[in-house]
């Protein structure tokens, strides 16, 4: 090539009046400019909150039925009278968080920022992506309609940034026929729990249907149970408020107890099976009696009809019981507080009052919310609920749980509601190493304390209500 090239090193000098040949430098300038222009153009094409005439809502649903129900009974009802309509964009559940983070970091995103709890909402708050909701608290009376404990984690430095949308707690689910067949009763303390698990294991029955193949963070459900029901809510409260380190013996003992029970094969059959157990199989085991119990959140109510009873083509039934006391440190009955979903408003939203109005619609009518609980087991927001609010068709078992939960006087703290983001991820990721024997409970707690202390210092821990005054 060079042999035919008489071009001077810096390109030919153009003759006057003739088009200048494209030099490398010129070419790079041109393409660079084009690229920059295209970048700007693409950025402008992004979904920017506030640019649309309608409010943009991104949401994921557990099933098509729930999506359809929400659209008909919430969205369509609101849009009939709203001055600014809300447009729903359904996203896959496994990807919605990533999509939201990417859109927000690019300066766009929907008008409403959904999160899986106050912990996740805090990451958006700290990044300055959410609007302050305080101007609307008095307007809509949210301090009155929502339960104080659930509103509190949504506040950062005294300002409200997120509203709780789903009120959850943990419970123990079981098949009464299985219990009757083996002469079991729902355990109320560690001794009874140990005895039942040992008996089940000896009979080749999986004591607790558990696994994290579908949801890696499922381990934090169980960790929350051990912390609140073995260590107890008071030490957890002290740790979350920085008064007690996570390295305290009470936590090391709770983690050790969890690890021991995993190693005995009580949770999921064996440690290795725990990592590959899928929910569909676990529910099946609960139905056919090859698993004794399942400890899970109240979101399970939505799944149970798909496996039990007429809808599933069998005559199996289910019931629930309060979680057992797992050590003498803990009170006999503790109800774990959990906010399963929150909504904030995008700081870039140009229609803040309209967006706040829609959020208020979602949390303002207990009857509408409890109808959703009755129809599709959609958990209600943490509202003040009276007996008259429940829909006639509400499953009595579901109603019984929420009534007892509302009447509880001692609460525990779930990791996805009250823990800072990095500590929460550490909690379930590193717990896998504890149950597989790759690290010790003491070392696990040391690592947790180190990370938690950093997040506490930077103000990343959600506000925590005291255990006996929350409800």
């Amino acid at each position: 090539m060079a042999m035919y090239d008489a071009t001077p090193p810096h390109g030919p000098r153009p003759a006057p009046g003739r088009p200048r040949p494209l030099s490398r430098r010129g070419f790079l300038s041109l393409t660079g400019g084009l690229a920059a222009g295209a970048t700007g153009l693409l950025s402008a094409c992004g979904t920017a909150a506030g640019n649309s005439q309608e409010l943009q809502l991104w949401s994921a649903f557990p099933s098509a039925d729930v999506q359809d129900y929400f659209t008909r009974n919430f969205l369509d009802v609101y849009n009939k009278t709203a001055t600014r309509k809300v447009q729903l964009s359904v996203k896959p559940g496994a990807a919605i968080d990533r999509l939201l983070q990417t859109a927000l970091s690019a300066g766009g995103g929907p008008d409403f920022i959904g999160a899986s709890g106050p912990t996740q909402a805090l990451t958006y708050v700290n990044a300055g992506k959410t609007a302050v909701l305080d101007p609307f608290v008095d307007v809509y009376g949210w301090d009155e309609t929502l339960l104080p404990w659930a509103l509190k984690p949504g506040r950062v430095d005294g300002k409200l940034y997120s509203l709780p949308m789903q009120n959850e707690t943990m419970a123990m689910y079981y098949n009464p026929a299985t219990f009757e067949k083996h002469g079991w009763q729902p355990p109320t303390d560690l001794a009874e729990f140990d005895a039942l698990c040992a008996d089940a294991k000896s009979k080749g029955i999986m004591p607790l249907a558990a696994g994290n193949a579908n949801w890696k963070a499922a381990t934090e459900w169980y960790l929350s149970v051990f912390l609140n029901h073995a260590a107890g809510p008071e030490p957890v409260y002290q740790a979350l408020t920085g008064q007690l380190p996570w390295t305290d013996a009470v936590f090391v003992d709770a983690v050790t107890l969890m690890s021991d029970q995993f190693k005995r094969g009580w949770w999921g059959g064996s440690v290795s099976d725990y990592f590959t157990n899928q929910f569909v199989d676990l529910y099946g085991k609960l139905v056919d009696g090859s698993a004794a119990m399942m400890i899970s959140g109240t979101w399970t109510f939505a799944d149970l009809p798909g496996y039990f009873g007429e809808g599933a083509g069998n005559d199996a039934t289910w019931d629930w019981a309060v979680l057992p006391q797992l050590s003498s440190h803990a009170p006999p009955v503790v109800w774990d507080l959990s906010v399963g979903a929150t909504y904030s408003i995008n700081a870039a939203c140009e229609h803040l009052p309209a967006a706040a109005d829609f959020l208020n619609f979602l949390v303002s009518d207990p009857k509408r919310q409890l109808a959703a609980l009755a129809d599709v087991a959609l958990e209600p927001p943490p509202l003040h609920i009276t007996d008259a609010d429940y829909a006639p068709g509400t499953d009595p078992r579901v109603k019984r749980l929420f009534e007892q939960f509302q009447a509880a006087d001692l609460c525990g703290y779930t990791t996805w509601t009250f823990w800072p983001p990095q500590s929460e991820t550490y909690a379930y990721e590193e717990m896998e190493k504890v149950v597989t024997g790759m690290t010790t409970p003491k070392s696990y707690c040391s690592g947790l304390q180190e990370l938690f202390a950093k997040e506490l210092a930077t103000g990343d821990v959600p506000a925590v209500p005291p255990p006996d005054g929350a409800l």
Binding site: A6, T7, P12, T31, A35, A127, F275, E432, K433
Partner: protein
């Protein structure tokens, strides 16, 4: 050919190259100058214009994000909001992070596995196929099909096949994906199931380009199948072999899909590789700056491999 006339006298090799060009090109080269530009300049200009869309695309989707990733690797960016410069803190953290060392080690194991197992299977499969004529196309298709199946489908099928609850795992009493000692090998084997057929087809194509007279001469000299494979086939397909080796190393450090679908890096980090660690840090742990530093290290590893390969090419004359 004004530009050529201004050049020093052409060597014989050059003359040969000129005469070897098609007549149309030669006549174009002899054409008078248009608008003051030589034909060589016009050709160059045209070439740049053809490259223009690709370079714009590269600048948009590769160069810009790459530069941003390097920038963010020096910050405490969470993935949202502002990023603060923290110097080399993320890179210092890499050296003390047991998870990073664990993931890097798994990438090395993964690379060794894919340099040995599928390459050997691919070579063997291709050599055996090259020996047959009947049903060769059928076998080629059969070997290639797994490569065309979406990774999520392959993963789901193998997950069920190996299930300790209802599959092979139950029969053998082994939990392939749940056992921390077996999980990495299992995921690599599943990935290999989809991969090695592709190597068979590529190696077979290379083998079919080997001069058949070499085999005939070897047979006359009494060479057996193994001698022919080692002394004729392997040296003849060395460029293909080296290229696939290079790409295997680079791809191994980018491995993500099968691992994420099957185990998400678990259990207990036993299948964690750099890409899953990076993903987790970026999206779950809100440490996008640290994830960017991991990405930069991954890019540097690939760069070292490519530079090493280019050095070998220059010194040994190996070509792609």
């Amino acid at each position: 050919m004004a530009a050529a006339s201004a050049s020093p006298p052409a060597s014989s090799a050059t003359s040969s190259a000129v005469s070897a060009r098609p007549a149309a090109v030669r006549s174009a080269a002899r054409a008078p100058r248009t608008k003051g530009r030589s034909p060589a300049q016009q050709r160059r200009r045209l070439a740049w214009w053809f490259m223009c869309p690709l370079i714009v695309l590269n600048a948009l989707v590769i160069v810009t994000p790459a530069c941003l990733a390097v920038y963010y690797s020096f910050t405490d960016w969470t993935g949202l909001g502002p990023a603060h410069f923290i110097g080399l803190a993320n890179y210092r953290k890499l050296f003390s992070d047991a998870d990073f060392r664990n993931a890097l080690l798994h990438n090395v194991y993964w690379t060794l596995f894919f340099l040995v197992v599928p390459m050997a299977m691919g070579l063997l499969g291709a050599y055996l196929l090259s020996r047959i004529t009947r049903f060769q196309v059928l076998f080629r298709i059969a070997y290639f099909i797994p490569y065309t199946v979406a990774s999520v489908v392959t993963a789901a099928v193998w997950q069920r096949l190996l299930s300790s609850d209802s599959g092979l795992g139950k029969v053998l009493g082994v939990n392939f994906l749940g056992d921390v000692h077996l999980s990495l090998l299992t995921v690599a084997s599943i990935n290999n199931w989809a991969w090695w057929g592709f190597l068979v087809v590529v190696f077979l194509t290379a083998m079919q380009g080997v001069n058949a007279s070499l085999y005939e001469a070897a047979e006359i000299d009494g060479a057996g199948e193994w001698r022919k494979f080692v002394s004729i086939t392997l040296p003849s397909i060395r460029p293909t072999f080296m290229f696939l080796g290079l790409m295997t190393i680079i791809w191994s450090f980018l491995a993500f899909d099968y691992i994420y679908i099957l185990t998400q890096g678990g259990p207990a980090g036993s299948t964690d590789v750099l890409s899953t660690l990076q993903y987790r840090n970026a999206f779950s742990a809100q440490q996008a700056g640290y994830a960017a530093a991991i990405g930069v290290v991954m890019a540097m590893i690939s760069a070292v491999v490519v530079i090493g390969y280019q050095t070998l090419r220059r010194r040994k004359g190996w070509d792609i």
